[in-house]
Amino acid sequence: MVTGNVLSRRGFLAGATSLGLTSGRAASTGTPGRIVVLDWALAETLIALGLAPLAVAEAPLYRQRVVEPALPPGTQDVGLRNWPNLEAIRSLRPELILTLEGYGAPPARLEAIAPVRALPLYTAERQPLHLARQAVRDLAALLDRKAQGARLLADLEQALAPVHSDAPSVLILKFADDRVIDIYGSGNLFDDVIKAKGLWNAWNGPTNIWGFASGGIEELARHPEARLLIIEPAPPAPLRESAIWRAMPQVRAGRFSILPPAWVFGGVPSAIRFSGFLEAT
């Protein structure tokens, strides 16, 4: 999905050729190629393909939010994901910059530094899992990691094997504070995952382009039959002690689980990680 203005053919060929060489060398010597990644979904995909990024935007925060696959030690930080430090990127002399299409610094500014590959995940078509698979194929082809790519996609298919559940209806949510929750629905990666696993997302309301809606906790009580999958952090203590929380149908029936951190805007590795949590609940 290379578009003309993102990458010129000559630049692409030069980048791809030099990358072929570095990744070849990477395979033999274990040294990483010179790739700077500005989005976490692409960073985790790259790591899952067995390549170490030279730098990832907001690397320290990645370790808290995405957690796995872990960033290799020594991965450098190049500033914010939505506006990385262009001078810091230049000083690393990268051979490829990976970025999310339609988000962050304009490709023209990045292209002045190194060849850029912009991949889409969250688009108007609202198929993040499909695009995440496509991103694995694209990166595997670009970086000569076809075998690893095929293995990653096979892992995903295995992870997405349907689960048999007596209560297939769930709600995936995260607490923004003790009064507002984000509920993930159509257009979010985790919505695609639970549907593939044969579960049913009880949230049928509208969602934004990233596939979530915000509301008060009474939204949850509207779907009393749905199991609550709460992505950490856990509900704040004042809320858990309140009469409202104790009156929630799911809480009274014990139908809720608190899941470890997982990147809700992630790629294939996050989808696999989240599937694992579903098996465990």
Binding site: L80, E87, N208, S214, E218
Partner: protein
């Protein structure tokens, strides 16, 4: 009772009935979606959330409306509102720090909010010192607001998702998870309301000037501090919805001059009632939009009386040494900024040149443009709180960016900003033309815009949309986004501005004397005001498009120039331009170096570093 007063009394009664009616409506007619709630949950939710929420809206709205009225009376400034003295930003910062460092419990948040608000107040009061005149308090409050706001914005920038709860608070989410908050608020009001009622009787004093008060044997400064104590005591607790209900009195106040007096009994009922109505409206967090529209409508329909302009913080020393120091610092920082490679050992300056010169040139031009625009708008309106942003241009651009982002994605940002700024200017011109471009109408129109632009920004960030981050960064003056073409355009406009500024000096000297005097001296107020306004609008628009709305340079550079002793618009202009450019170039440089590889937006850093310097100057001046 005159006909006008009778009308006002009826309006007050009408608003109060509307507030009660809205509350009853909210209780008896459940939203269709609530019907789908399980019955036993609905019973508890109604008692623990729905009813407390309504009471919270009524009480907070009324109390904020009243506070706004008192602040305007005591400070004698139509732009004053509960946030003016730095209390709200102090509370907001303390809550943010508390959420980050100590945890997110309701009890802790409240304690932190109280402590932060009171600390900000103590600071403002200390700064204004014993000469607590209206303008001195306002300027001190403004500086604290800007500095605290900058710290807060930096926290939010680097801890974005932890701090979403703070934005949810700021966007006026009144959701209650129990009756505890309401009980606490009610307890406090039992004490505070009687005090307020006693104070109100004395508020009429502030309708006369400080000099007259002194003639009556009263100390205006001590009175002012005493009288603003009640709203101060209340504010740290007045949790959400402050943006909408604090300014809810504005439409009422421009309805009639009589509203400006807190001693008017109808005003005493109507302002709190309007505050309560604002918070009870079913529009929720989008309430500032109808409020802003109402204000614009009223401004369109009614004549705003012209206030005589006042000169603030007039200087008398010779500012040449300060200008020379500023220019030297400017030259050194430009040279250093263009060539440094402190964090980038592998690169030489030549490689960085293509990325560096646009941002340095943009910071420099924006500093000069905003400072000149600030000098002109403050002289034109005679209001120390006026800044280039007061024209509503930056707010218009901000709204345009948000709408562009929501409608067309990242590609529509620039066109959204341009059309937003143009629309805002057209609207401000249309409205203030009906008032012959009188300063009061001009500033109120800008405030109306700012109110809903600010509220919309809070709402979009509270929504958690990752793209909202773009709006947040933009609002902080990120010079690092500067493009070569934009930098050159900005520089060209700056040059034209510097060349044309001397043409306005005579007008700027004469206009503050008042319309009648100006006409006697052969200056036609309408044409001159419009010309100056258009000139300020062009400078503000160009710099906003280049670096976003940078409050500090435009607001503070004129004050700094005066504090350094520049008197007269000409000297103030030169002095302010040199200072404005220096502040922004230094802020851009420091923002790049302090937190590498993270870049701190120049606008936020300018407020943070410029505020202490400004306060030191003010202190030395005394």
């Amino acid at each position: 009772m005159t006909r006008g007063t009778l009308f006002l009394a009826m309006l007050a009664a009408g608003l109060a009935i509307l507030a009660i009616g809205l509350a009853i409506f909210n209780l008896t007619v459940p939203e269709p979606t609530i019907a789908s709630l399980p019955d036993e949950f609905w019973q508890i939710w109604r008692a623990e959330s729905l009813i407390p929420r309504l009471w919270m809206a009524l009480i907070s709205g009324a109390a904020l409306g009243l506070s706004g009225l008192m602040f305007q009376q005591v400070l004698r400034n139509p732009l004053a509102e509960p946030a003016t003295l730095g209390v709200l930003s102090g509370a907001q910062l303390a809550i943010a720090l508390c959420v980050l460092l100590a945890g997110n419990s309701a009890w802790l948040r409240e304690a932190a909010g109280l402590a932060g608000g009171l600390a900000a107040l103590a600071f403002v009061t200390l700064l204004a010192g014993r000469r607590a005149s209206g303008p001195a308090l306002l300027v001190a409050g403004l500086v604290v607001n800007l500095a605290v706001g900058a710290i807060f914005v930096l926290l939010a920038l680097f801890q974005h998702d932890y701090l979403r709860s703070v934005f949810i608070w700021a966007s006026g989410n009144l959701t209650q998870n129990g009756t505890a908050d309401l009980a606490a608020l009610g307890g406090r009001l039992l004490v505070l309301v009687p005090i307020a009622l006693i104070l109100m009787r004395g508020m009429a004093l502030f309708a006369v000037s400080d000099e007259s008060l002194r003639g009556l044997g009263a100390n205006a400064s001590r009175l002012r501090l005493g009288f603003s104590f009640w709203p101060r005591l209340y504010l740290p607790w007045s949790l959400p919805g402050s943006a909408s209900s604090g300014s809810s009195g504005l439409p009422l106040r421009c309805w009639s001059q009589e509203w400006a007096s807190a001693a008017c009994p109808a005003g005493l009922v109507a302002t709190p009632a309007a505050g309560a109505v604002t918070l009870l409206l079913p529009t929720g967090v989008l309430t500032p939009i109808p409020c802003g529209l109402l204000l614009l409508l009223l401004l369109w329909q009614r004549r705003i009386p012209e206030h005589p302009a006042r000169q603030v913080l007039a200087g008398n020393r010779r500012p040449f040494p300060a200008v020379l120091v500023a220019l030297t610092v400017l030259a050194i920082s430009v040279a250093f900024s263009l060539s440094e490679t402190l964090h980038l050992p592998g690169l030489d300056a030549a490689e960085l040149w293509p990325g560096r010169w646009p941002r340095v040139l943009t910071a420099l031009s924006a500093g000069v443009m905003l400072a000149l625009a600030g000098v002109v708008i403050q002289s034109l309106t005679g209001n120390p709180l006026a800044s280039p942003e007061s024209l509503g241009i930056s707010s218009g651009a901000g709204l345009g960016i948000i709408l562009g982002l929501l409608a067309g994605g990242m590609a529509a940002l620039f066109s959204g900003a341009v059309s937003g700024a143009l629309l805002a200017f057209a609207l401000v011109v249309a409205i203030s033309a009906r008032n012959r471009f009188a300063p009061g109408a001009l500033l109120l129109t800008g405030v109306a815009f700012g109110t809903f632009a600010g509220a919309l920004i809070s709402v979009i960030i509270a929504s958690g949309d990752p793209r909202a981050f773009v709006v947040l960064t933009w609002s902080m003056g990120p010079t690092y986004r500067a493009e070569p073409m934009a930098a050159l355009t900005g520089a060209a406009v700056t040059l034209l501005a510097c060349l044309s500024f001397p043409l306005f000096l005579r007008w700027l000297r004469i206009l503050p004397l008042g319309t009648a005097q100006a006409q006697a001296l052969g200056v036609r107020p309408v044409i001159t005001r419009f010309t100056l306004m258009a000139w300020v609008a062009v400078l503000t628009g160009v710099s906003t498009l280049a670096v976003g709305p940078i409050s500090f340079a435009g607001l503070m550079a004129p004050h700094l120039a005066r504090a350094l002793g520049a008197s007269g618009p000409g000297m103030q202009g030169i002095c302010a331009a040199a200072l404005g450019a220096t502040i922004l170039v230094l802020a851009d440089l420091a923002g790049r170096l302090i937190w590498f590889p993270y870049e701190i937006p120049a606008g936020a850093l300018a407020s943070l570093l410029g505020a202490p310097f400004f306060l030191w100057l003010i202190g030395r001046g005394r």
